[in-house]
Amino acid sequence: MIGAGARSTPLHAEHANAALVNEKLRSRWETFACTVLDRSRQTALIALQGPRSEQLLQSVCSAPLTPLRHYALTTAEVAGIPAAVARTGYTGEDGFELFIDVESAAALWQALLSLEDAVQPVGLGARNTLRLEAGMPLYGHELDCSTTPYDAGLGRVVKLDKPDFVGAGALREASIAPATRTLVGLRVTGRGIARHGQAVFGHDGDEQPSGSVTSGTVSPSLGVPIAMAYLPPRHADAGRELWVDVRGRRVAAEVVALPFYRREPAS
């Protein structure tokens, strides 16, 4: 987490990227009347996710949560602990992320767990299957420094009509360039599980791969192996059959629409 000056703007970078984001900000801050504080080591993040997260968090949160929109942030006391409360998360479900001082993390964790038995500790393995079912790209898998937002199906988050911003020129070009690859969903129809880094072939006999798998697992919600992969647009139509090299075996897969799973709309 990085905060800037007296009028502070918190910025939360994916943990794996915090050092890079910090460096990129510091290399540019001198042109702006601001300072960059790396608060990563003083800040902890606890996510409360799931269809009942609003109801459960509201019982211990000083700020009203119903008006808090997705991706919005507010400050509040949660179980008496000062927190930045964001309606964010990476599970495809409704949920909140609570940014707190590291000193308060254990107390907040215990307070949330004691809300009721339905609140359970969940690790990153489960988080990863949920975000994959929801078709959400993850840094280090679907995203890296060579990916454009348009490759990853994230063009909607880029506002090209804003005043100049870092990367605006490159993104304007990328937004109109013909796509060379596109992120697709795969359902494995043969016997095997496609995993990150495995080659994808347009035809069973092809020697040259046409793309590669970025994430893959067995979907607990659907009970079948699913994956995401970058492919040339000509191989990206839903229903197209492809082959994945699973540790030396060609396993059949089918292009399917993302997301694999959509949560029930709020009632």
């Binding site: 016997r191 607990p220 192996p225």
Partner: protein, 126 residues
Amino acid sequence: MSVPEHLRYTADHEWLAPDERGARIGITAYAVEQLGDIVFLELPEPGTELVAGEAFGSVESVKAVSDLQAPVAGTVLEINAAVVADPASVNLDPYAAWLVRLQPSAPEQVGALLDANAYTALLEGA
């Protein structure tokens, strides 16, 4: 952690049960706990010759893929089709859900595997 007395073990967390028709091989309760939900098994065809210590198949959980390593040399007599069809049965009872049955080619290798006490000591040191 369950470590049945009558089995032999490897440091890679596989078990071997000598019986009247060769030896059954599976993975231990510790291995299953580390892997989490098992979703896929890749096992060799009957007749495959296994080399002690070399990979002969894989076990895949939601989290990770792990190689299966041959505890001893031998010929695959049979694979357990029921666990291939239902990999989660390994999670339910890892000592009942054998994976392959082997005809060991060097029986002295079986005696050299860890017994339950030695395997328990290995787990406690882990």
